[in-house]
Amino acid sequence: MSVVSVTPAAADLIRSLRGRHGPLMFHQSGGCCDGSAPMCYPAGEFRTGSSDVLLASLAVDGVPEPVEFWMSSAQWELWKHTRLTVDVVPGRGSGFSLEAPDGLRFLIRSRLAA
């Protein structure tokens, strides 16, 4: 079972954003307001470093390159017993995440690792 998977609705949105913005990446946020939610950026917009861990390179049908999903390693220490699914819901705010103007918001759903 992969660490991160994507719902069909989220895959649709990723394809759409890929068409408009080019290659994409995710970084899972922590903290308040729009936090505890995945942020979607043009690939390379957010500089990952030694404090981050690459959880998955998501293969999305219709997207030519893998979409990397990152999280800070300190946060992953607290999450690693769970598996994550990127979903999408109607919504509004999202920091600088790309999907907000569409009236949509990426959301993480979690389940315990088998």
């Binding site: 970084h27 922590g30 308040c32 936090g35 939610a37 919504g91 705010g93 600088f96 907000a100 103007p101």
Partner: protein
């Protein structure tokens, strides 16, 4: 009780406020602004993009020099006049913020707006009293230190206290003599414009500019601009890091407030008597539901000492069950609506993983349907989980009315659990023993430790984070220096050369 009518003072559309007047968005787009009370749209707001931000920066740069040279007496007078206008319109401001954010009007009437008013008055006073310094290096040499404004600053405001959080950033920045380009949260852009309708004539054109829009379209060009001398942001860690990355490209300072997972610690002696103090402590527990839990310092982890654990927790559950949910504009309502649908969905996802991890639901645990026209709104039952600090509901900011409870053995154990978190913004300590209170308060790695109180936000008490909770201290005169440069004049009063050349 009073039940206010839905506010009718909104304009049907809000443009950007740039250079002292409303300006249509360059791209021509607008987005709908729904109230979380019913889910219905009540106004539409300009969708800002980079050209709008540039125009606002032009206006701010045009105004900054004159504003920075305006006497502190005059700047303070303007801030006090803003406070006076807000005082005169307290009720309508409170209703506006409640309608846009979903929070109970009892909170906006008693806390959000009165605190914002006092905040302007505080910084009006603080800037009058601020002094530079001089150092007498030797008999002929003096180092003078002057406070100078940074110039033009960018501010990105969160949605949980739309007017108060804007005030926390605006009051010190304006007092210090800066011109501002401010982006409200895309969830709650309208109430700041209602506020502006009351005070816009008090400020010189260009000193305050408001560009609405989404983070990616309007916030990013503001945060990454080489034309802002500083960026202030309240939000979450990934965007905070991204703003620091942008700032590093231009070598600009930032202040960040990024949230927490605040422990609220109840020692055994809290229950030593059945008295007012115990009653106050139980209210302190229940503070997790203030503002529907949408507070960066939500006391979302309750640590209860083992000796009184069962009794205190049972009383806390009863207190939580007594929280009155209802229409946010009803003054009897204690908990209103979550601010947006995605916020609601995120909270529900945490209620799900909390259960999966084995946390026990002591009360609540579901979305609430309040019936009638509120059925379209975003309501959640106040929820108490019982579990272990390693669970995700103990480690992540849910930003909903959800508290996770665990026990501790002694002071060391309490401090260990309290500090077992990535964050360090707020904490609460409840005890009748001031020695214990002092030891716990000093040992907890958080910027604010409420001691025998919680969720008080008076001006003149510094507020900010340790660890991943951010950089800077708001709410205090020290915030002035986050909006100022230090100019040193090093002056020689000697007529004699050094003799090197």
């Amino acid at each position: 009780m009073t039940r206010y009518d839905a506010p009718t003072h909104w304009q049907s559309r809000y443009d950007h406020f740039i250079g002292g007047e409303y300006v249509k968005p360059h791209g021509g787009g607008y987005f709908e602004n729904p109230t979380p009370v019913t889910g219905q749209t009540f106004t539409e707001v300009a969708r800002g993009t980079a050209p709008d931000v540039e125009k606002a920066l032009d206006a701010a740069h045009g105004a900054a020099d004159a504003w920075g040279r305006t006497s502190v007496a005059e700047r303070a007078l303007i801030l006090n006049r803003i406070a006076d206008r807000m005082q005169d319109n307290l009720e309508s401001l409170a209703i506006a913020e409640s309608w846009e954010n979903g929070k109970p009007v009892r909170e906006t009437l008693a806390a959000d707006i009165p605190l914002a008013i006092d905040h302007f008055r505080y910084f009006a006073g603080a800037i009058r009293a601020q002094e530079g310094s001089l150092g007498e290096i030797d008999d002929d040499t003096v180092a003078y230190h002057f406070h100078e404004p940074l110039g033009v600053v960018g501010q990105i405001i969160p949605w949980n206290f739309p007017i108060l959080m804007a005030t926390w950033k605006l009051a010190p920045a304006l007092a210090a003599g800066n011109a501002v380009v401010l982006k409200p949260a895309e969830q709650t852009p309208a109430s700041i414009h209602y506020w502006l309708s009351l005070v816009a004539d008090l400020l010189p054109p260009g000193v305050l500019n408001i560009v609405n829009g989404f983070g990616v379209e309007a916030g990013k060009p503001l945060a990454s601009s080489a034309r802002v001398a500083k960026v202030a942001f309240t939000g979450e860690t990934t965007t905070g890091r991204l703003i620091m990355q942008y700032a590093s490209e231009n070598i600009k300072p930032v202040t960040l407030e990024l949230g927490g997972k605040s422990p609220n610690i109840f020692f055994d002696d809290v229950s030593a008597a059945s008295d007012d103090f115990l009653d106050k402590a139980l209210e302190g527990f229940t503070m997790f539901a203030l503002n529907q839990g949408e507070v960066c310092t939500c006391p979302s982890r309750a640590l209860i000492q083992q000796g009184h654990y069962s009794d205190f927790l049972a009383a806390a559950v009863e207190r939580t069950k007594a929280i009155v949910a209802g229409h946010p504009l009803d003054t009897d309502t204690m908990i209103g609506a979550q601010a947006s649908n995605d916020q609601l969905e995120k909270i529900l996802s945490y209620l799900d993983i909390g259960r999966q991890e084995g946390a026990k639901v002591l009360t609540g645990g579901s979305r609430a349907d309040l019936g009638g026209d509120l059925s379209g709104g975003y309501y959640v039952e106040p929820t108490i989980f019982e579990g272990d600090n390693s669970m995700r509901v103990f480690q992540e900011e849910i930003f909903g009315p959800v508290v996770s409870v665990t026990s501790f053995a002694d002071l060391d154990d309490a401090v260990k659990t309290a500090n077992d978190t990535l964050y360090g913004l707020g904490a609460g300590v409840w005890t009748r023993d001031m020695n214990v209170a002092y030891r716990a308060g000093r040992a907890i790695q958080a910027g604010r430790v409420w001691t025998n109180c919680y969720h008080a936000y008076p001006a003149h008490a510094a507020f900010g984070g340790y660890k991943q909770s951010g950089i800077g201290r708001e709410n205090h005169k020290m915030m002035l220096e986050h909006y100022q440069q230090t100019k040193n004049l090093l002056v020689s009063y000697s007529t004699q050369k050094l003799g090197f050349f």
